[in-house]
């Protein structure tokens, strides 16, 4: 859990840290919209390289962002595979029969066992998974001897299927990278202040952006605390013989209750204490608040805004042409 980088702020220096959060939110929004407007892989590749150049300029380590992408990897792989299999338009690139015989089954089981054993011993889980997937393909394709268990079926990859799958994956990559840059370089408090200021005009239609921002920042603040507390409760119940990794399903249900009830009660206790602490420091809901660090625009913000508007305009022009 602790290695998840999405949504984490990591202190550092660099261009993006000095930008105003409002600028960053608006710029990321603009660039995201323009990414959705792009239509060809070539355009997207340019967008991807622009995103990477932005990372380099901001002196954000590519390795960190890649590490953060790890949990999303499965999502990306699934999108890729579904697109490639289900999209059947354009000219077929590969098309050949696949066989499923007794020997195929034996080989598949063998490959599976080898994969699991290696996965236990080695550390390169992703690489091993790809090797396993590749070997499944090779087995289905070439092991054509023996009694057929089911009729040979046709395996085909179509041109537009391949294009679409690459297209979708790159688009997702760019969007995730951009939002990671936003959260990586902006303190949660600054982020909520930015959102608050951006939503301020909505006050006319009765939307209280200050309370909204406060709710967001308090929830963000308490995620690690509650996580910590859940951990402690789990240990306390484990000491009473309710270890989550042992026992039957029926017992586990009871164990979940033994975890949830204290969590809710502690959360309510905390919120009451927090409310008292805030009131005793003279917090009045709806009153105008001042801050130690007011947000300020400078020339960098102007540059960033102009850049993002140019990107948006450019992609609109490309779309129209």
């Amino acid at each position: 859990m602790k290695s998840i980088i999405i949504g984490q702020y990591i202190p550092g220096k660099g261009m993006f840290y000095k930008l105003d959060p409002r600028t960053k939110i608006v710029a990321v929004l603009f660039i995201m919209i323009s990414v959705f407007l792009l239509q060809t892989i070539f355009q997207l590749l340019i967008a991807l390289s622009v995103a990477i150049i932005l990372l380099l300029i901001g002196r954000i380590s590519l390795l960190k962002v890649l590490k953060g992408l790890k949990p999303i990897m499965i999502l990306l792989i699934f999108t890729f595979i579904f697109q490639i299999i289900l999209n059947r338009e354009g000219t077929p690139l590969i098309s050949h029969p696949m066989y499923f015989t007794i020997f195929t089954l034996i080989f598949l089981i063998l490959a599976f066992i080898i994969w699991r054993v290696l996965a236990k011993l080695l550390r390169f889980r992703f690489t091993l998974f790809f090797l396993f997937a590749g070997s499944v393909y090779v087995i289905l394709r070439f092991v054509d001897f023996g009694d057929a268990l089911i009729e040979p079926f046709n395996f085909a990859i179509y041109q537009s299927g391949l294009e679409m799958s690459i297209f979708v994956v790159i688009r997702l990559l760019i969007i995730i990278t951009l939002s990671t840059v936003l959260t990586l370089t902006t303190k949660p408090t600054d982020l909520t202040q930015g959102i608050e200021k951006l939503l301020h005009p909505l006050k006319r239609i009765g939307f209280d952006s200050e309370s909204f921002a406060l709710i967001i920042s308090i929830s963000l603040r308490y995620i690690p605390t509650i996580f910590d507390e859940a951990n402690k409760i789990m240990l306390a119940q484990a000491s009473r013989g309710a270890d989550f990794s042992e026992g039957k399903l029926k017992d586990k249900l009871k164990q979940v209750i033994s975890l949830l009830v204290p969590m809710f009660i502690i959360a309510f206790m905390r919120s009451e204490e927090l409310a008292n602490a805030m009131e005793s420091r003279n917090f009045v809901p709806g009153e105008k608040r001042t801050r130690i660090n007011e947000l300020n625009f400078n020339y960098k913000d102007v540059l960033a805004t102009v850049f993002s508007i140019l990107v948006l305009a450019g992609s609109i022009v490309l779309r129209v042409i």
């Binding site: 409760i233 009473r240 309710a242 042992e246």
Partner: protein, 286 residues
């Protein structure tokens, strides 16, 4: 054989701060019968982490420990039934709110024993017995644990662990947040359990008066290391306890002050208030 630590270290890892070593190179042996041990040390010295190792709630990063013959290492071993270890070594957490969850005290105390496959009737009987053991009467059985006072909650949570009939009992600051009378009642209770049943009891505490008065073995933690293991008497005869963020018991402090200001010749090592008073009486009569 009870619990034996062999070169145990434990690291917490977090994204922001990296590795943080909570305990380091701990070698320790706790026998299963007739021990009454205090575990002291300032906040963040690794007491609680050490206690969590004792019933295999967390596994050592380095080294290993043996708990009733089962060897606990960094990796979870599928052959070991960890729930059985927790039955043998009961750990009571500092805050009762972390474990109380049922709508009645009786059901809550029954939760522990019921996890070890006994009948409802037996569990009910055990619940009643252990509630009486911590000094609460039967009228508490049907009450809601969340409507009890802090001290009562604490007792119910202790009863919840006692109900599992562990061979070794580990308590994380059982007396914190209690009034002085409540503290003594609980300490006498633990001493009583220790003497009657012979169960080994380990208690984490900050109260040096209690340590001096009740315990015959004390473990001192400082910055993750076990720096003292032995008789409290010898510990308090040392000159410079403050450098380990410890304090002397009140009796020693008061008698020492009297010696210095009135130029008396009192024997300052008195465990209880009564003993201190009679010592003063003796010297004054002379």
């Amino acid at each position: 054989m009870g619990i034996r630590f062999n070169q145990v270290s434990y690291d917490y890892s977090s994204f922001a701060q990296g590795l943080y070593t909570a305990i380091k190179d701990i070698n320790l042996e706790i026998t299963e019968k007739h021990e009454f041990i205090a575990l002291v040390g300032h906040t963040g010295s690794g007491k609680s982490t050490l206690a969590k190792h004792m019933n295999a709630l967390i596994f050592p990063s380095e080294g290993n420990l043996e708990i009733f013959g089962e060897v606990i290492t960094a990796k979870r071993n599928k052959k070991i039934k960890y729930n059985n270890i927790r039955k043998k070594v009961g750990l009571v957490f500092q805050f009762p709110e972390y474990q109380l969850f049922e709508e009645t005290v009786e059901k809550d105390i029954m939760f522990g024993p019921m996890n070890f496959k006994i009948t409802q009737e037996e569990a009910k009987k055990i619940a009643k017995e252990s509630l009486n053991l911590v000094g609460l009467n039967d009228s508490y059985l049907q009450r809601n644990p969340y409507n009890l006072s802090g001290g009562e909650k604490k007792r119910v949570s202790i009863a919840g662990i006692l109900a599992m009939d562990p061979e070794i009992l580990v308590l994380d600051e059982p007396t914190s947040g209690l009034d002085p009378a409540g503290k003594r009642v609980l300490m006498n209770l633990f001493k009583d359990i220790n003497e009657k049943t012979g169960k080994t009891i380990v208690i984490i505490t900050h109260d040096m008066d209690l340590v001096y008065q009740y315990f015959n073995r004390v473990l001192v933690m400082n910055e993750g290391r076990l720096i003292y293991d032995g008789d409290p008497e010898k510990l308090f005869r040392e000159k410079d306890l403050f450098k380990n963020h410890l304090d002397y018991p009140n009796t020693i402090k008061v008698l020492k002050y009297l010696n210095e200001t009135l130029n008396l010749n009192l024997n300052i090592y008195q465990k209880t208030l009564e003993a201190a008073l009679s010592e003063i009486e003796r010297v004054v009569k002379e």
